[in-house]
Subunit: 197 residues, 2 copies
DNA sequence: CTCTCATTTGGGAGTGACTCCCACTTCGGT
DNA sequence: ACCGAAGTGGGAGTCACTCCCAAATGAGAG
């Protein structure tokens, strides 16, 4: 399972972490908008063009999660036969468990939630995954991806989860993530009306 | 109810419509990305700085709806005492009824749904309204706007509706909008699991 | 260990969205 | 007709992002 990684890749990742590090330092000091990519590149000792190669956009510098685990394995076997939400719940909580409550790098998160252009980038990324989510739902429920209900469900999920995370942040991470997710999924599962009575 | 509008405002709106018109022409011919704001301004006979004054961004040119009716009156009286979804449903269908099925200017819509940067702008605008939606929900259900469930519901709504509109577009507007909305709201109301069984 | 090839990096040149500013025009009310 | 307010044109500038290519540097073969 260990991915083989040469010097090349190691250097690249080191550089990326360094760039992100100094970028966050500069952002903390002057604010996201007041810092230029050129300044970041200089401070990190790389060329501006390299920064774009690494992160695509300025927002990407904040978005990048060096510890990210790709959990795109096409559904774990033990989730087969479960109803939709049970499967989802287990997938998500497994993910959270692996990371502890430290899914969150507070430093980055502040920008993810508060700087408008970065917020937008986050939303965009989440909604990029809507088709994937729709496939997942379609698979679990035996429906077609193209059905309205499936699409709406996927969109509602994305929107609901995004709102939940923003709420979590707004309340200063007071509620344990696990609990929060459970309540969020329950709301989505049981219907918006019922759960609001 | 008629808003008094002087020559100044009339000229401004005429200019905006003209700019949008020629912009869409140019987009149709060369593609959104290949057309510069300067070209649009020239073709419309205004200064580039005016275009930005009017629309804020290039995407804003497409977003702008000259026929938009502001329906932000704080809840119509006849909706009082209704349950959340009934009130929502009536609000939305009333809006649709007023506009016929012509809520949609096909020309603009194509760009709203297909050009990445414009798509993003649409999503952004919708999610800008989430706090408003949350207030609406909070009011109707006697809960606090700050509650997780309320926030999640508002986010899920936004995401669900966005997905519905995209589905509608993807299917070439085959289904009547009223029906589509009814199914969408039903899915959100009754819960994502139930309605997918 | 060395040579060669495939990648990656640095940095220069350029594009275009968007901002700032200010002199000039034009509208609205007296 | 006149004055003050608001809008317009257009010049100058910033910065995110792209394209390109020559120089540098790992990776693998012999």
């Amino acid at each position: 399972m260990e991915e083989r990684v040469g010097l090349r890749e190691r250097k690249r990742r080191a550089a990326m972490r360094r760039v992100q590090e100094v970028a966050l330092d500069l952002f903390d000091e002057h604010g996201f908008d007041a810092v230029t990519v050129k300044q970041i590149a200089e401070a990190a000792g790389v060329a501006p063009s390299s920064v774009y190669r690494y992160f695509e956009t300025k927002e990407g510098i904040v978005l990048y999660d060096p510890n990210r685990i790709v959990l795109s394995e096409p559904a774990r076997p033990e989730e087969d036969g479960l109803r939709l939400f049970e499967a989802l719940y287990r997938t998500i909580t497994a993910f959270v468990a692996e990371h502890g409550d430290e899914v969150i790098d507070r430093r980055r998160t502040r920008y993810l939630m508060e700087v408008p252009s970065v917020r937008t980038a986050v939303a965009e990324r989440i909604f990029t995954d809507v088709p994937t989510m729709a496939s997942f739902i379609a698979e679990r429920t035996g429906r077609s991806v193209d059905e309205l209900e499936v699409q709406v469900a996927a969109g509602a999920f994305a929107g609901g989860l995004l709102a939940a995370v923003r709420h979590w942040h707004a309340e200063d991470y007071a509620e344990p993530l696990g609990e929060l997710l459970e309540r969020t999924l329950a709301t989505l599962r049981d219907g918006l009306e019922v759960s609001l009575e």
